[in-house]
Amino acid sequence: MPPTNGEGVVSARDRIAHSTIQGIRARLVTVCLGSVALALGAIVLAPLAGSTSISLAHAFDLTRPWASNVDAQIFFVARLPRVLAAALVGSALAASGVVFQALLRNPLATPFTLGISSGAALGAMLVLTIGGAFAATTWAAVPAASFAGALAAVSIVYALAAARQRGFSTSVLLLAGVTLNSFFSALILMLQYFADMASVMQTLRWLLGDLDVASYTPIVVALPMLVVAITAFLVLAPRLNLLSVSIDAAAMRGVDVVSTQRISFLSASLATGAAVSIGGPIGFVGIIVPHLVRLIVGPDHRLALPASLGFGAAFLVACDLVGRTVIAPLELPVGIVTAVIGGPFFLWLLVKHAQ
């Protein structure tokens, strides 16, 4: 519960809620515009900073030949793709977090609760340890394998949850997901045990998250999937509101509960799978951002989802910026930055929730 004064009114939300009560449309527009502005601001500003100081004038100087323009290369090859990847991954994980929390009716759910990240990790690990010669032929080997792993996990969990005749059981979903997480993690540990040191280091590194894509291709490939998923989220938003209050009442109000649950699960899994394939399983974004966003704009999913997109993008771009500058020339993996922020935050959440 957010801090309240004696009457139980949340002042920050109250200001937004009350002042624009004449138009939920107005609130919607404000939140969407604000979200886009936040994301764009992060995307435009972040590439300007880094572990090296570069000359922007040189970087944008078209008269210099590309092959020798180090400033341009640093900006357009090292930094910009990285920032874009961070924005995509951050928004995907944050929005998926919101959707999973609504689906499971639990504010402590994360995009990784249902086994997607361990499936992706297993896929990546298989390539890194025994992929060998095949893997070396293409940049897409590890991302494709991790996406395939994520898909496998999603399919298993979905099949179990949808096996019920009367539709879709979120409790089976949760149990299956948690069990799958443990099982895949055990497989991963076993692979590591038998692999050589170099592969083990590679997978450990992958698990910590890395957004240094150095190419626009992964972004272009993932973009259609994310667009599909995010469109689904926005369409589902009003139904998620109703579902998160009471499943029976939602059904009584005309919501097709089973269909909503299925589409939510599949679209959020798609977004999460794509995000993890680009940057590895970056944790805590999927729980910190949804909570912060709800504190600011409220739990209405029609506002929380657009807001989480922008906020998630800006948040991860910022975390990546910290990771690549704070101990320069070395880098702190982005997953560590989010964990350092997220760990204490999560604990605080648990304490608040218990009250």
Binding site: A67, N69, A72, V127, T137, W139, A140, D210, A214
Partner: protein, 286 residues
């Protein structure tokens, strides 16, 4: 009167006691059943002539060829203590970080030698210390002198030549430039590079390995990139480097692949590894 008391029996007893003591002392100074968990140390043992006395090696040992027939007892993470004890060793070479194992061995009364990773001087020191433990001091000296001679020769050949900025890469994600692991400004590879006539681009980072981001590689702009791999199986593709178009090594196609366990093992073959490095950097000097 005393002379008569110190009779045959007494002398015999003294002899027996003396021999036993002597033998056990000798057992302590010249181990005859050696186990090595460290590939680099295994190579050292064979180089200094203790090879015939090695009874088991680690799971990762491949050199020298004699080890292929020896039993395996695990390595850093998974030493097979039961197996080790059953082989009744009298000296075992362990990693410096394997404290628990060392304690266990101590309780079983087995002397151990802690192998500590470091730079080139540490390789020489380790060879000498190991030789002292196995009772092959002279051979140990010979091995060290041999390596030093090789290195001196390399230094002579590359002396006076311009030292290219070099990045040594020993790992990256297959097919791409994600998670590049490069040699940092500390350790035997860094030292070898210095002797081979190259300038380590990450010489200022006092760590054995550096995770090089795209930005870092573009900034440091190495003139030569040396990729090291332990074996042929995981040969990396060079096309991935094309994304770093402004790096001189990529522009001038000075990307060299060196495969072989000698390149990544801190052992007696570091001399020939340095020669290979030097040839890659200064082919005209050889």
């Amino acid at each position: 009167m005393l002379n008569r008391r110190i009779g045959t029996r007494t002398i015999l007893a003294a002899l027996v006691i003396g021999l036993t003591l002597g033998l056990s002392l000798q057992a302590q100074t010249k181990p005859s059943r050696i186990i090595s968990l460290v590939p680099g140390a295994t190579e050292m043992l064979f180089a200094i002539g203790a090879g015939p006395r090695v009874v088991a090696v680690s799971s990762y040992d491949k050199e020298p060829p004699e080890v292929t027939s020896l039993p395996r007892v695990g390595a850093l993470i998974d030493p097979d203590v039961e197996r080790i004890l059953s082989l009744k060793p009298d000296l075992i070479v362990v990693y410096g970080s394997q404290h628990d194992l060392a304690q266990q061995l101590g309780r079983a009364g087995i002397p151990h030698f802690s192998y500590v990773h470091g730079g080139l001087p540490d390789i020489f020191r380790t060879i000498r210390e190991l030789a002292a433990r196995t009772g092959d001091i002279e051979q140990g000296e010979r091995v060290v002198k041999g390596i030093e001679a090789t290195l001196a020769d390399v230094s002579k050949r590359v002396a006076g030549r311009p030292r290219p900025k070099t990045m040594i890469v020993f790992g990256r994600e297959p097919g791409s430039l994600r998670n590049v692991y490069a040699s940092g400004g500390y350790g035997f590879l860094h030292d070898a590079l210095a002797i081979a006539g190259g300038d380590d681009v990450f010489g200022d980072v006092k760590r054995e390995s550096v995770q090089a981001s795209t930005e870092l590689m573009l900034t440091r702009a190495p003139e030569v990139i040396v990729e090291l791999r332990a074996d042929d199986e995981s040969a990396p593709d060079r096309a991935a480097w094309q994304t770093l178009a402004s790096v001189p090594a990529v522009r001038n196609n000075r990307i060299v692949l060196l495969t072989g366990s000698d390149m990544v093992t801190a052992g007696p073959r570091i001399g020939q590894a340095t020669v290979r490095l030097a040839k890659a950097l200064h082919p005209e000097a050889f």
